[in-house]
């Protein structure tokens, strides 16, 4: 028997929930890298391409901070490669184990989100690709618009189940 802890997905027991105009799904625990540095998003995108991570999404997570996310599990060597490209300018901290992503989509997604967050989600203020660190209820989340009617949450692992239950409850209540 191995004495090392075994990785168990935080939302392993959760099924995708579908209601009328709403779809809630746990996303794969692929990668989520916290990047900090005194550069802009374009510089980060170039470094990602150089490190073979062009497909990963970039989400702004505050002043000079970003999350780099995707569905694939990254080998440590690839994360080290990105860190090499940013050396002297910024830092990479692997948070794949620490933050869990959840997707919410459908034409009623906006209505459900407005029950939990005060961020202005009007497409003019919160276009596709836009991201914000905010509260959903009492849980701190990173909220990103990935399509016109599709959003992604990233929340701390220990809050993920609670957040999912809250979203599921709201999704079924509005169905």
């Amino acid at each position: 028997m191995s004495e090392r802890p075994e990785h168990k997905p935080a939302l392993a027991g959760k099924a995708t929930t579908e209601g009328s105009g709403i779809r809630l799904e746990p996303l794969p625990e692929g990668h989520l890298l916290h990047v900090m540095g005194a550069f802009d998003g374009d510089t980060l995108a170039e470094s990602l391409t150089a490190a073979g991570l062009a497909k990963s999404a970039i989400q702004r997570a505050g002043y000079q901070q970003w999350y780099v996310t995707g569905d694939e599990i990254l080998p440590p060597a690839q994360i080290a490669l990105l860190a090499d490209h940013l050396r002297g300018k910024g830092f990479v901290c692997d948070q794949s184990h620490g933050r869990i992503r959840i997707a919410l989509s459908g034409f009623r997604a906006l209505e459900l989100l407005s029950q939990g967050t005060a961020v202005d989600l009007d497409p003019a203020a919160f276009p596709v690709g836009h991201s914000a660190v905010t509260l959903f209820g009492h849980i701190s989340v990173q909220l990103t618009r990935t399509h016109a009617t599709r959003f992604e949450f990233a929340a701390l692992r220990s809050f993920a189940e609670n957040l999912y239950d809250m979203l599921e409850h709201a999704a079924l209540a509005s169905a």
Binding site: A61, G62, Y63, Q65, A118, V119, D120, A125, A132, V133, T134, L135, S140
Partner: protein, 92 residues
């Protein structure tokens, strides 16, 4: 109390996302300044009427410290800036 704060990094957010530390005009005494100076710095506060600068932490947003200038009578927020950048002489 102001209910909306315009964070220079995040935009307009409700005050539930922030933690208030208080008076931004206080200067930390020197380590050997003596008991009276430290007592005053830590415990004694004015209760100003009108414009007032305070430290606010955007704890559930960008996690930056801000300096919010607000009016304690009208609740109007006059200016908000990033505390660290202001100290470095930047704008933001």
């Amino acid at each position: 109390m102001a209910s909306l704060i315009s964070c220079p990094h995040c935009g307009v957010r409700p005050r539930e996302e922030f933690t208030i530390r208080g008076d931004a005009s206080l200067t930390r005494p020197a380590a050997d300044a003596g008991g009276d100076a430290w007592y005053e710095y830590i415990y004694l506060r004015d209760n100003p009427r009108g414009r007032h600068k305070e430290y606010w932490h955007h704890s559930s947003g960008c996690r930056r410290w801000l300096i919010v200038e607000r009016d304690t009578v009208t609740h109007a927020v006059h200016t908000v800036c990033d505390a660290a950048l202001a100290k470095l002489g930047g704008a933001a």
